[in-house]
C-alpha cells in the first residue's frame, strides 16, 4: 500500500524554484533516506510533506488524503531542527499537552508511559528549561512518538546527538517501522541513515536525481551515491 505519494511538486521561493517537479512514492513500512547536498531542497520537501508549507504546484497525498487534512496530521510525527518542547512547562506537562492536542485517549497515561520509555520518569516534574541537551532530545523524541504516528518526518534527526541518544532514536524508529509506520528522514550522516533506510532518494538542486531501494554497496561506500548521481 502506498503511504505517501508526491506528484510533480514544485516550490518557488519568489521566482527561484527550490523544488522542481519532485515525484516519488513510499509504500507503507518503508524508511526513505532523503539525501542531498546543502541547499538541495530536503528541508523544503519535508516541510511540504508535514503540511508546514504549501507546494506551488503539484500535490502530496498521505494515506490517500490531502496532507493538510486533520486526520492526516493526527497520524504524522515530526522532528525538525528545533525540539518543539516548551521550556517553561515540566516534562510531564509537555507530553500531556501534546497528547491532548493530538486527541490521544488518556493523555495522562500516555504521557507517563512515554516518560518511562525514554527514561525520563525520574524528572517528570522538572522544568524543561533545566534539562541538558540530551534529556531535551529524549523528550522531543517522546513528543514525536507519543501519538503513535504512522508517518514520521525527521529533518537531520541525528545532528548533534551523542551515541546513546542516537541508539535510543534508532531503536524507536526500528520499532515503529516494524509496526508498519512509514519514515522519511533527511540527513548528512549517511552511515547512520543508510543503516535504517530501505529506500533512498537523492535530491540534486531541487530535482530527484535518484530514487530506489537501498543496495548493499551503498552501505559499504556511502559516497558512492553522490559520485554516481550527484552531478546530474
Amino acid at each position: 500500500m502506498t503511504a505517501l505519494s508526491v506528484e510533480n511538486v514544485w516550490k518557488y521561493y519568489g521566482d527561484f524554484p527550490a523544488l522542481r517537479g519532485i515525484s516519488f512514492e513510499a509504500r507503507q513500512g518503508a524508511c526513505v533516506a532523503l539525501l542531498g547536498r546543502n541547499g538541495a531542497g530536503k528541508t523544503t520537501l519535508l516541510r511540504i510533506l508535514a503540511g508546514l508549507s504549501r507546494p506551488t504546484r503539484g500535490s502530496v497525498r498521505v494515506f490517500g488524503r490531502d496532507c493538510l487534512d486533520a486526520e492526516v496530521r493526527r497520524q504524522t510525527g515530526l522532528i525538525g531542527h528545533g525540539i518543539g518542547i516548551y521550556d517553561e512547562l515540566s516534562a510531564y506537562e509537555n507530553l500531556r499537552l501534546f497528547a491532548a492536542l493530538y486527541g490521544v485517549k488518556d493523555p495522562r497515561r500516555a504521557a507517563m508511559e512515554w516518560l518511562e520509555r525514554t527514561g525520563l520518569e525520574r524528572v517528570r516534574d522538572g522544568l524543561v528549561r533545566e534539562f541538558s541537551r540530551g534529556m531535551r532530545q529524549r523528550l522531543a523524541v517522546a513528543r514525536a512518538f507519543l501519538h503513535r504516528p504512522s508517518l514520521l518526518l525527521l529533518d537531520e534527526p541525528f545532528t548533534a546527538l551523542d551515541d546513546r541518544a542516537i541508539a535510543l532514536l534508532q531503536g524507536l524508529l526500528k520499532e515503529s517501522l516494524a509496526g508498519g509506520a512509514t519514515v522519511v528522514m533527511s540527513t548528512h550522516q549517511l552511515r547512520e541513515a543508510l543503516e535504517l533506510a530501505t529506500h533512498v532518494a537523492l535530491i540534486v538542486k531541487g530535482r530527484l536525481a535518484h530514487a530506489g531501494e537501498r543496495t548493499a554497496e551503498m552501505l559499504e561506500d556511502p559516497g558512492w551515491l553522490y559520485r554516481t548521481y550527484g552531478e546530474a
Partner: protein, 226 residues
C-alpha cells in the same frame, strides 16, 4: 465543541507557562507603571486638564503595555521551534489563534485591573462613577486590542525586526478602537452615561471587534502555513 476544547487547551498552556514565570506579566505591568510616571513628568497632572484627558492617557498606557505583552504571544513559540509543532498538530490554525487570543485577553485584562486603580490614585481620577459601562467599554476595547495584537504577532513572528514592526503596524490599525475607548472613558470618568453620539462609539467598538475577529480567524491559516 472539539474546536473550542482545542482552543482552550492552547489558552491553558499559554496561561500556565505565563503564570509559571510571570515574566511577561511583570514586565508589562511595570512598563505600564513606568509610562504612567513618564506621562506625569511630561504633563503636569495636577492641572484641571488632566481630568479632560484621563481617558486618553489611560488607553495610551493600555495600548503600550498591551503591545509589549502581545508581541510575545507568538514569539514565545519560536524558541525550540514550537510553532512548527503546533501548526502540524491536528489543531486548526483558527483554534490555535483563538486560544492564544483568549490567553492574551485574560492577561491583558489582569494588567488593566491593576493599572486602573493606580491610575486613579496618581492622576486623581474617579473611575468608579459608571462601573458597569466602564466595564463594558474596557471589555470591548481590550478585545479589539487583543485580536489585532495577536494577529499581528502571528504576522510578524518570523521577521527579524519583530519588536519594531509590531507596534508600528498595530497602532494605526487600532486607532478607531482606541479613539472610541478614549472618548467613552473620558465621558464615563466625568460621570456621564453614554447616549446619542456616545452610543454610536459603542456600536463602532462592537463592529470593530466582530469584523476583525472574523477577518483574523479567516486569514490566520494563510499567515501560519507558508
Amino acid at each position: 465543541m472539539l474546536f473550542l476544547r482545542q482552543a482552550w487547551t492552547v489558552a491553558q498552556k499559554d496561561l500556565r507557562s505565563e503564570f509559571r514565570t510571570k515574566e511577561a506579566l511583570n514586565a508589562s505591568l511595570s512598563f505600564a507603571l513606568v509610562i504612567l510616571l513618564l506621562f506625569s513628568f511630561a504633563f503636569d497632572p495636577t492641572a484641571e486638564m488632566t481630568r479632560e484627558i484621563s481617558g486618553g492617557l489611560l488607553w495610551l498606557v493600555f495600548a503600550f503595555a498591551g503591545a509589549l505583552l502581545l508581541n510575545r504571544s507568538f514569539a514565545r513559540e519560536l524558541e525550540n521551534d514550537c510553532l512548527d509543532v503546533l501548526v502540524v498538530s491536528p489543531v486548526p490554525a483558527a483554534a490555535l489563534f483563538l486560544g492564544k487570543a483568549l490567553a492574551n485577553y485574560i492577561l491583558l485584562l489582569g494588567i488593566e485591573a491593576v493599572c486602573l486603580p493606580v491610575f486613579g490614585v496618581f492622576y486623581n481620577a474617579d473611575w468608579t462613577r459608571q462601573p458597569a459601562w466602564l466595564a463594558i467599554v474596557i471589555l470591548l476595547a481590550t478585545w479589539g486590542i487583543t485580536i489585532i495584537g495577536t494577529m499581528f504577532s502571528a504576522l510578524t513572528v518570523n521577521l527579524r525586526l519583530r519588536e519594531l514592526m509590531l507596534p508600528m503596524l498595530v497602532y494605526p490599525m487600532l486607532i478607531p478602537c482606541l479613539m472610541a475607548a478614549m472618548q467613552l472613558t473620558t465621558a464615563l470618568m466625568a460621570g456621564q452615561a453614554p447616549s446619542g453620539d456616545q452610543l454610536a462609539w459603542v456600536r463602532m467598538l462592537v463592529g470593530f471587534d466582530i469584523i476583525f475577529t472574523a477577518l483574523s480567524v479567516a486569514l490566520v491559516e494563510t499567515v501560519l502555513i507558508g
